[in-house]
């Protein structure tokens, strides 16, 4: 099936709760330490393709996890303050993202048979369901 014609994309793994929100999409990585101003709730690293964009309440659709281990704590800290994305959707997750999502009870799915950053349009309204037998993201 061609790009943008398929509306549901299944992931290899997922955790957390079902969410619906607007997608913020880039072919770039994710690290809470490296990339975010967590107080302002924006991407702050100048080189990041989403630099200056607010991530609060958005479904982040990105390529993979980057950088260090801090995200394992930071997702929890961001959630308690309420300045966090709605979900993370990654082509590839590393253990830190999984550990952080587990601590924060945060919604994350990863592992697709396509490049999910090309399959989901920036600004699309999406549903992410990690509780399904096959976790998925779909455009609604």
């Amino acid at each position: 099936m061609g790009r943008m014609t398929q509306k549901i994309f299944y992931a290899a793994a997922g955790m957390g709760r079902k969410v619906c929100a607007t997608a913020l999409v880039a072919s770039d990585g994710f690290s809470a330490r490296y990339d975010l101003d967590r107080i302002a709730g924006v991407f702050s690293r100048p080189e990041h393709k989403l630099a200056g964009e607010s991530y609060v309440g958005r479904v982040l659709v990105l390529d993979g996890a980057k950088g260090g281990v801090a995200t394992a704590w930071m997702l929890h800290e961001m959630k308690v303050r309420g300045v966090m994305p709605a979900a993370l959707v990654l082509n590839r997750a590393n253990p830190i993202m999984v550990q952080g999502a587990a601590l924060a009870d945060f919604t994350m799915i990863s592992g697709f048979d396509c490049d999910i950053t090309k399959a989901i349009a920036n600004g699309a309204e999406v549903e992410v369901d990690p509780t399904a037998a096959r976790p998925f993201i779909r455009v609604v």
Binding site: R33, E47, G68, V69, W73, E77, A93, L103
Partner: protein, 423 residues
């Protein structure tokens, strides 16, 4: 995941609520990442500076620290990564009282859990390096990649909650780099130029990290014309992990699992091969220099400096005066030796500041920048230049001697200094 009788008992809460939380956390992680069972670990290493923890994380720790002693103590030796401050120098850094208060609360909570506050990201140089085949649960990506690659130990990236869980349960889910199959090379890098400066080893790590770009990737290097030293491999690994999220590398003829390249090459199709030479190193360095004419401070950190790095720095500063802040960050294990051997005095006589038990980027770097008016930053750490831009700094990657020259020139990146950078 397949659970032993003891693991099932932990899950039922028979070892208290903290170990119950810990094993549940590990099972969630293990299920997601395809672990079949647990593997016992001998050590854990926790990254938990308070900038990462936040108030929420500190309160979470304090909740568990209030349990009865038998229910809250770790089972295997568990140590810590750098803290968010050096209490002795916090005022000089213009860190705020609330930061120090949060740090003190986190330290008290960890101590109640039986964690040893070693506050270092170079435990493999200073505390107890693991041996080949030893399963451990380390945090700090630089620690993991060095111990996996140079020591031949077996660890995944274990973020703070998971490293603490491993300390409490004495085990970790068996996935990733605990498995033989994951430790084979996935790409080959042929070097035509072996780095000389520590910053060049970091540069090489950054380049290879970008090529690899994923936690599952394991680069194997060939063409290194001599055996690199521990500080060189420290900078290489830290940058490789930072730029690429990579947790294991091999160097043919150097690292223990790759005495022959063939030892780490899987059967099947030829692996992707990349060539890296001096031109590539130069191009990478130039990315972090081109448009910065002046810096406000010089930082040696990330990873913390070894005794030998501190000696080199002291030698470069002898008879000189740094006219902008020059921060040299080392571990609480190395600092007393620096004091005893006169290295601290020599660095500080030249206007530098020796910091212990912290790491620059883990120490409220954004707030320090705002309080001190810091913007341009020179460092010899490729890892630091990769991280610190997100905190509002404009980093320049130079060698240690160039950084000293810049500090003594009042931060001006003179043509002479930058010419050396290009060559």
């Amino acid at each position: 995941m397949k659970l032993s009788d003891e693991e099932q008992a932990m899950r039922r809460g028979e070892f208290g609520p903290l170990r119950q939380w810990a094993i549940e956390h590990q099972i969630r992680v293990g299920d997601y990442l395809g672990a079949a069972d647990f593997v016992p670990v001998t050590q854990a290493h926790i990254m938990a500076d308070t900038e990462s923890l936040g108030r929420a994380g500190v309160e979470w720790l304090e909740h568990w620290a209030a349990l009865a002693a038998a229910q809250r103590q770790v089972r295997v030796p568990t140590i810590t990564d750098p803290r968010g401050t050096d209490f002795a120098q916090a005022q000089k850094l213009k860190q705020q009282p609330w930061m120090l208060d949060l740090e003190r609360r986190a330290i008290a909570a960890f101590e109640a859990l039986g964690v040893l506050m070693t506050d270092t990201c170079i435990n493999y140089q200073t505390i107890m390096p693991p041996v080949r085949g030893e399963h451990v649960a380390y945090g700090d990506t630089g620690v993991v990649i060095y111990c996996n690659s140079v020591c031949g130990a077996r660890s995944n990236f274990e973020g703070g909650p998971s490293a603490l869980s491993a300390g409490l349960t004495g085990r970790t889910p068996r996935y990733g780099y605990h498995l033989d199959a994951q430790r084979q090379a996935t790409l080959v890098v042929e070097l035509s130029a072996t780095p000389r400066e520590l910053s060049d080893w970091g540069t090489l790590g950054g380049i290879v990290g970008r090529l690899a770009g994923d936690y599952s990737q394991v680069p194997a290097l060939v063409g290194v014309d001599r055996v690199p030293g521990p500080d060189e491999l420290k900078h290489f690994g830290a940058a490789l992990a930072s730029f690429g999220s990579v947790a294991l590398f091999h160097i043919a003829g150097v690292t223990p699992e790759a005495m022959r390249l063939a030892d780490v090459i899987p059967e099947g199709p030829a692996l992707p091969t990349h060539e890296i030479g001096e031109v590539d190193l130069r191009a990478f360095r130039s990315r972090y220099a081109n448009d910065v004419g002046e810096v406000d401070l010089v930082v040696f950190s990330a990873p913390q400096l070894s005794l030998m790095e501190m000696q080199t720095l002291a030698g470069l500063l002898d008879g000189r005066t740094a006219k902008i802040p020059l921060l040299a960050v080392t571990s609480p294990q190395v600092k007393p030796d620096c004091d005893r051997l006169g290295l601290t005095a020599r660095i500080e006589a030249a206007g530098g500041t020796v910091l212990s038990g912290m790491c620059f980027y883990q120490s409220y770097a954004r707030e320090m920048a705002e309080a001190n008016g810091w913007h341009g930053l020179a460092t010899n750490s490729a890892k630091l230049v990769n991280i610190i831009g997100g905190y509002g700094y404009r980093p320049v990657l130079l060698s240690m001697s160039q950084c000293v020259e810049a500090a003594c020139a009042g931060g001006k990146l003179t043509a002479n200094i930058m010419l050396k950078q290009k060559n």
